[in-house]
Symmetry: C2
């Protein structure tokens, strides 16, 4: 059973560990960055840069887009969040822990993600002559339980 939102405590821990990750890289903890950490820790799905901007705006009315983009780029670089291309634009989500390799089910309506433990690369893939594998992508798209019951939500 999956929850729409993370519990308050879990979410605060997550936000804290994002902040710690930033500090570990020598980054300064600004209000803007705290708000970004808060957003990613409270949402289990993919968010658009626009949504990040909207979230920060609610607390700092005049945030600029370049701050949003600069920080998203930074967080991707230091590996705290990951970037995905969707038909409607680039989206970001909290990077999953390094505990074990996994892929995702992704809801095309609410952009929530669910772990998928099967990894096709473990199953006898046979690359063409001389091909050196560097990475792979495996995702399953569809509608999550909630959205398939009452579609057209975002």
């Amino acid at each position: 059973m999956y929850l729409e939102k993370r519990g308050r405590e879990e979410m605060e821990n997550l936000a804290e560990s994002i902040i710690n990750g930033m500090e570990a890289e020598g980054l300064r903890i600004t209000v803007q960055r705290k708000l970004i950490a808060e957003l990613f820790s409270s949402s289990r799905g993919f968010v658009l840069p626009r949504q990040v901007h909207t979230h920060i705006s609610r607390h700092i009315p005049g945030v600029s887009y370049d701050t949003v983009y600069r920080n998203l780029r930074l967080l991707v670089q230091i590996n705290l969040i990951e970037q995905f291309d969707f038909p409607d634009g680039v989206r970001f989500k909290l990077r999953c822990g390094p505990d074990h390799h996994h892929h995702h089910f992704i809801c095309q309506s609410c952009h929530m993600t669910y772990p998928l433990d099967f990894c096709p690369v473990d199953h006898g893939i046979d690359p063409p002559d001389g091909f050196v594998i560097r990475s792979h992508k495996f995702e399953i798209y569809g509608l999550c339980g909630d959205c398939s019951r009452k579609p057209k939500e975002d």
Copy 2:
């Protein structure tokens, strides 16, 4: 063993079948469209809109970008080419025949593709409660034989 380029005859047949596909949809066959068909039939990999534009420009010096985009969009709609998001931008390639479902090895240097018959969705995937699967993505990225020997080519 894979060839850099398709043979002349194979390539002409492909170009012709792209043209036929367009005609079947009631589209008119313009010089621009012939050139696009030619490009996709001669390249086995993914191309950027900019590369399409450059290709047509060699024959029609003043082609406009909107013609390129309009036609790419059109060809995607009528299912003759497919669109992929790469870190450096959207790319397009000829759609593989409907003969059988397959995925791809994709070279990150030259953007050439190689078929990969294994499909993870056939192997006991267990979606979360109520999740309705609509599509999936599976690609393996790396360097093809040629590029791994002499890297940094595009």
